[in-house]
């Protein structure tokens, strides 16, 4: 029982991380109808930006309280990544929209490689895994096989808060209304006086900030970050967004948790072969796609000829 609870905890934690990444994918798809595959590497950039900030603070303000330290690390990650996201959108994705969608996908994959390689080559000692500071107190509560860590609970709750915040922004603010309008019909939204470019930039800033948070969360959870993590995270985020149904924020969150659930199931059911968990999860994704070709919460698919 304890063991199952422990697996549930780990699965929920992973699910929250994947959901945060997937929300970005689905937001961008909603507004621009493109897949921004470099989003996974954006997450990785976020954690490296946080780490750089931590190093800088550590050498100049070593007496800073942990709370402020965490805040600054988060701020640095969000600022860098939001800027990067807006730059990507403005310089690359909007100009590419006229071409075939495959080109955008390939271009963003290449951008992902550029980001990954830049970190590997130009970040100090970037080709090796870096230790990420825990920052939060390492209190934990042990009962049998169940080990509840305080920092994990904080991370999970703040992840949930972020998702709630995104939900509020999209459903309750003028900005959110404009985002939804552009997603529904770009031209009509522009006729109603929505500033398209501004909305695109705002969406990318929003999605990327969420990704930055996921990056810092990833670093604090594993206490280690690696330049190559972006590719797998991107694939997982993309899969989650697609399982849920592209363009639907709740679908993306659901998809993130489903993917984490699949991975956890892979470990629980086949403890002898836990290395196969990604094989199992991606296999399940392929099967799910064969069953529901446009995701669980399907995007309305009518085609005008």
């Amino acid at each position: 029982m304890d063991l199952i609870l422990q697996f549930c905890m780990n699965g929920l934690m992973l699910g929250m991380m994947y959901a945060l990444v997937a929300v970005g994918f689905t937001l961008f798809f909603g507004v621009l109808d493109v897949i921004v595959f470099s989003h996974g590497d954006t997450v990785m950039i976020g954690s490296f930006a946080g780490l750089a900030m931590y190093w800088w603070l550590g050498s100049y303000y070593p007496e800073l309280a942990v709370f402020w330290m965490t805040l600054w690390v988060l701020l640095a990650a969000v600022a860098v990544v939001a800027l990067l996201g807006m730059l990507t959108a403005d310089a690359m994705i909007v100009p590419l929209r006229k071409g075939p969608p495959l080109n955008t996908l390939l271009a963003t994959m290449m951008l992902g490689t550029v980001l990954r390689e830049s970190i590997r080559l130009f970040f100090p000692d970037g080709s090796n895994p870096q230790t990420f500071p825990g920052l939060l107190p390492d209190w934990s509560w042990q009962s049998g096989n169940l080990n509840l860590r305080f920092d994990n609970i904080v991370l999970f709750c703040s992840g949930a808060c972020i998702i709630a915040l995104v939900h509020l922004v999209i459903n309750r603010t003028r900005l959110g209304m404009a985002i939804r309008a552009v997603a529904q019909d770009e031209e009509a939204a522009q006729l109603m006086g929505v500033n398209f470019r501004f909305i695109v930039l705002a969406t990318f800033a929003l999605g990327s900030s969420v990704a930055a948070f996921a990056g810092v969360m990833n670093g604090m959870y594993y206490n280690e970050i690696n330049f190559g993590v972006g590719l797998l995270l991107g694939a997982i985020g993309f899969s989650s967004a697609v399982i849920g149904g592209l363009g639907n924020v709740y679908g993306a969150i659901l998809g993130g948790f489903i993917f984490a659930f699949l991975q956890t199931i892979g470990v629980v059911v086949m403890p002898f072969a836990s290395a196969y968990k990604d094989v199992f999860a991606f296999g399940a994704v392929i099967l799910l796609m064969a069953w529901r070709p446009t995701g669980l919460i399907a995007e309305p698919a009518s085609k005008r000829v």
């Binding site: 897949i35 390939l106 290449m110 094989v279 991606f282 296999g283 796609m289």
Partner: protein
């Protein structure tokens, strides 16, 4: 000036171009210092510029388009000549072999993406499936190399059939995800599976044909020729077969149907084109080509590991296709040469090669989305498609 343009748009253009390619490749492959290599690379740009200035590029294009058989023959002779020129040089022969292996795989990808428009982000996986099939059949089941080679292609095509259902039911980004998930799945699977050799990989037995062992150097009295010579000859044969197969498909009514499916599914369905059938054909044929190339490549490498067939390699194949111009098989061959050769020879950029080269593809997609040599639209009259 006019006379020169006319002269080069005849058969002379093909021969002249082939000679230039032969000469350049010879000197480029022989160069070992970084500076001459850079000079040779700049020379290509310079020559292109001069040809453009003299308006000769159009005449060369006309020459190639008007004398296809001659041009194909010239290219085969150039390749054979290069192989012969480097007959004692292991490294350069290996490079030539790799170029040809990659070309065959990209030809397969071209059938899928360039003709039928079926997205495949797991080309390197099918290449790898071919390699592993040949390796396992030969080491574990003792099957001779030639059936192993064919089995590599067949198994790749069969495993592709498993993916068919999700690939056909989905479209656009969803199909991209299915193949991507497959690429990641296969990589992880090969990495963790003990039976497939794990991350260390497995050794592959060499090709041998009619008692001729491909892994031994050829000895004629005093001179000793590299054993890669045999592999290169086999690759050249395979490449010719694959090229003519793909070209035949493109020129036939099958190619027409594939083009119809790619450009507008709804419209072609209305005109009675069976979309499923053509997508299945293209996907399977492409995987067969990639798998066969992979099987042969594995025998040449003599040792394979999962690190050879990552998602990044699939992206490499796709980028070659995109650089060459989707659907233009000659452009694809040219792009393979550059993508394989330049990082190998220009060692200064070795460390930065992924960075430089993904940045290049990125710029390419933004500024010249149709590739270096875009495919010409079909011409329906005059008997030439």
């Amino acid at each position: 000036m006019r006379r020169m343009a006319v002269f080069f748009s005849g058969p002379a253009g093909c021969v002249f171009l082939a000679l230039i390619i032969l000469g350049w490749s010879n000197f480029f492959l022989r160069a070992e210092e970084q500076f001459p290599i850079l000079v040779y690379m700049l020379l290509v740009v310079f020559l292109g510029f001069v040809a453009n200035l003299l308006h000769l590029d159009d005449s060369f294009r006309a020459s190639v388009a008007g004398h296809e058989r001659l041009w194909d023959l010239c290219l085969i002779i150039v390749m054979a000549a290069l192989i012969w020129l480097f007959r004692e040089d292991h490294y350069n022969l290996f490079l030539l072999g790799s170029i040809m292996a990659y070309s065959i795989a990209v030809l397969g990808l071209n059938v899928q993406l360039g003709y039928a428009g079926v997205i495949n982000f797991s080309c390197a996986s099918f290449f790898g499936i071919g390699s592993y099939t040949a390796a396992l059949l030969m080491t574990r089941a003792g099957i001779p190399p030639l059936p192993g080679l064919v089995a590599g292609g067949v198994v790749a095509a069969l495993i592709g059939c498993v993916l068919l259902l999700p690939v056909l039911r989905t479209s656009g980004h969803y199909a991209a995800l299915v193949t991507m998930a497959f690429a990641l799945l296969l990589r992880v699977f090969l990495d963790v599976s003990e039976w497939f050799g794990g991350p260390q990989g497995i050794t592959v037995q060499p090709m041998s044909l009619f008692g001729l062992d491909f892994s031994r150097n050829i000895v004629f009295g005093e001179t000793e020729l590299s054993f890669y010579l045999k592999y290169d000859a086999a690759f050249l044969l395979l490449l010719c077969l694959a090229f003519s197969l793909v070209r035949r498909v493109e020129r036939s009514w099958i190619g027409l149907a594939l083009d119809a499916v790619r450009s507008d599914e709804t419209a072609s369905a209305c005109f009675g084109v069976n979309i499923m059938r053509w997508k299945i054909t293209a996907f399977t044929l492409g995987n067969f080509l990639s798998g066969t190339a992979g099987a042969m490549y594995a025998m040449m490498l003599a040792y394979i590991s999962p690190a050879n067939f990552t998602f990044a390699d699939s992206l490499l194949f796709l980028s070659i296709l995109l650089l060459g111009g989707i659907g233009n098989i000659r452009g694809v061959l040219l792009a393979t040469v550059f993508v394989v050769l330049i990082p190998e020879k220009f060692q200064v950029i070795q460390e930065y090669r992924y960075l430089i080269y993904s940045a290049l593809v990125l710029l390419m997609i933004v500024f010249r989305p149709m590739g270096l040599l875009p495919r010409r639209p079909r011409v329906y009259s005059g008997g030439r498609a």
